[in-house]
Amino acid sequence: MRNKRSAVAVALATALVISGCGGAGETPADGGQKGEAAPGVTDTEVVIGTHQPLTGPAAPGYSKISVGARAVYDHLNDGGGINGRKITYKVEDDGYNPTRTVEVVKKLVLQDKVFAIVGGLGTPTHSKVLDYLTAEGVPDLLVSSGALMWNSPDKHPNTFGYQVDYTREGKVQGQYIKEKFAGKKVGLLVQGDDVGADTQKGLDQFIKPQIVARKTYDPANTDVTPQLSALKAAGAEVLVCECIPAFTALTILTSLKLGYRPQLVVSSIGADPATLTGLVEQFAKQGGSEVSGGALLTGVIGTRYLPSSRAADDPWTKYFRGIHDKYIPKEPFTDTLLYGMVQAYTFGQVLKAAGRDLTRQKLMDAMSSGELKGPGLTPFAFSKDDHAGYTGAMVFRIAADGNVETLQEPRVTDRETGEVTPYEEKRSTPEEISLVGQ
């Protein structure tokens, strides 16, 4: 029996060897782009997909992005669609788990046959499908992350960013901190991935000598006490938090527990006052205590590149508020919701510019045409050689009444070592780039 078993083992091993001769990591001889076909497009419909954290560690806050986006697509569809086509928006939950992301994106591409992926959310998640989408030739537009890797047209010609990238945002923040908090000790708390590395590239250009400690967190572990204790011990007076909303809230609560009150500077990914208020109160309640989110958030400094949901006189906020009131009146009108709405509206613009005779190539040409003017406060960088999204940010402070006050008007910059300059051009109005009713 023993002999027989080993004979079998040899036979099977041989079979395996034959089955996989080439090296697993070697580049195949062929491969690359698929043809010009336009899956997901019919005369009356265009199917797009996205992956979002509707459950899991990033869901608090971010699960509302697709809700806002859907409202805008409903609005566009009710207005007759874009170029006569209604947009079907498929949202898959990946729980911020990269394995699930790969699964659901393959589902969207192979089973639902989407025309494009729009606003796929997250750095650790979306980075895992980048090569796949490139190989399949699927347009990958307006990625919901500020990592630099979305902007590499050579390697990933179909991928375009959306947010201001973390380096640009780091530069705007760094310059502001250098000017307003000169000589103060700065500590960093960042997500342990490209969010941290890319931001630091920007911050270091201005405040490297001021930085006394840098700590990372992992989104799967919600205890940030060790990190904040270390930052407190290092004597950081200004704490730059490059965190997703759940972790901004945890940072606020944990520093309260530790009796640590630094000046918090939060980047756009986790600085939505309405969402933060809700999260701080909810997390405190889960921990068995009552806090006032408003009081805790007062004085927090943040950066943003989109109009505030509180800016009642902003024409774009007014416009999206109208859509909100009609389609999703029960949802709180937050910056996060607005983020999804702007993203969807931007995709609508691209789709319209791509024309009635729709192909994936035309969609990508429309993205890189440089014509895209958007609801944002600063322009997009999109061109043939640049796939970065918004190019700058403004600085604001959360006031005691929950409103936001502008500390510094929008400034734009590049991802290298270029200057940070005020941006003064006039933004397009909703009337100028209307997508509905023509």
Partner: protein, 339 residues
């Protein structure tokens, strides 16, 4: 006739039949379903390994996701750093790495039992993924590693990639299952059960209890390593966010659902793990449920299924099937008497 063959040959024939069936199945289904079939495959081997440890040997592991983590990162690092190695070597090394980790964990675990063992293994699942934060240059922190595995021979380039992947996954899984089935059926299986049922009696019978427990850990975590390696092969990613304690717990839940005491149970458990989610999603879409309800429905429904199955069939799905099968084959004598 089959009964005259030694069990090892029966297992091999069954595996061959399984492979043929599976290849047929991949031809009948679309490329995305192929991916799901492959997903069932790697969960199957992870749960089957756990069956050997928990079902046969009585050691509870709440940390089996940690071995999948090790397997996945082994394949990821090999593909990225030693691209010339063929994928089957990568997978073999993933199993070896998982096994070695299991050897260490098992040596510690042999001194623990019950809740203490469960706690220690849970710590493994919680703590190990944090290693990626410690060595961000090698393991890429929270971001994890992404890569493309090119295993498909040029001659088979017409086969959709996901179909090819499903074949490789199931080939590896069935091979590992043959080994597991042979071990479970043979002397080791008897030793494992003897230790599970009564350690004192086992040691009086000359069984080295500690060694047996470590061996069970070794085999089981090698399966975990292989499962993780296969997952990395299939999805081209290894990231800490994929190996949360929830993964370890769902593997154990799948084992309980399928049936603790048999390798078949692992199959039902793995299918449930993949398809309860899918069916619930479809159901939620069908009834267009509110998103905050439908997002949490899969887990809730999985829990309900688990409770119902365990209430109805304490020995899991396999136990239930077995009961039905014996009833069909040999109607109960009292039943016959009534006729």
């Amino acid at each position: 006739m089959l009964r005259r063959l030694p069990p090892s040959a029966t297992h091999l024939l069954a595996a061959l039949a399984g492979l043929v069936l599976l290849v047929l199945l991949t031809f009948l289904t679309d490329p995305f379903t192929n991916l799901r079939i492959a997903t069932v495959g790697y969960y199957l081997i992870a749960v089957a390994g756990l069956a050997l440890l928990t079902g046969f040997n009585g050691q509870i592991s709440l940390g089996h996701g940690a071995f999948m983590f090790i397997g996945a990162y082994t394949v990821a690092l090999l593909v990225l750093r030693v691209p010339a190695l063929p994928i089957w070597v990568d997978l073999l090394l993933a199993a070896v790495a998982g096994g070695l980790a299991g050897l260490l964990a098992g040596a510690a675990a042999a001194r623990l039992r019950g809740p203490y063992l469960a706690g220690a293994t849970l710590a493994l699942a919680v703590g190990l993924p944090a290693v990626t934060q410690r060595f961000p240059d090698l393991l890429a922190g929270s971001n994890g590693l992404s890569f493309t595995v090119n295993s498909q021979p040029a001659a088979l380039s017409a086969v959709p990639a996901t179909r090819w992947q499903a074949w490789i996954v199931w080939l590896a899984v069935l091979l590992a299952l043959v080994v597991l089935a042979n071990l479970a059926r043979g002397r080791l299986g008897r030793t494992l059960r003897a230790v599970r049922d009564d350690e004192v009696a086992a040691s009086l019978a000359g069984i080295h209890v500690g060694r047996t427990k470590i061996l069970a850990f070794l085999v089981s975590s090698a399966c975990g390593g292989l499962a993780g390696g296969l997952q990395a092969f299939l999805l081209g990613t290894a990231a800490p966010g994929s190996f949360t304690p929830a993964l370890s717990l769902s593997l154990l839940a799948a084992l309980v659902l399928g049936g603790l005491g048999s390798l078949w149970g692992a199959l039902w458990g793995a299918i449930a793990l993949v398809y309860v989610q899918v069916w619930t999603d479809d159901l939620a879409e069908l009834f267009s449920l509110r998103s905050n309800l439908s997002d949490n429905l899969p887990l809730a429904l999985y829990g309900v299924v688990l409770i119902v199955i365990v209430l109805a069939f304490p020995a899991g799905i396999q136990g239930g099937l077995h009961k039905v099968w014996t009833r069909v084959r040999r109607p109960a004598p009292s039943h016959r008497g009534e006729q």
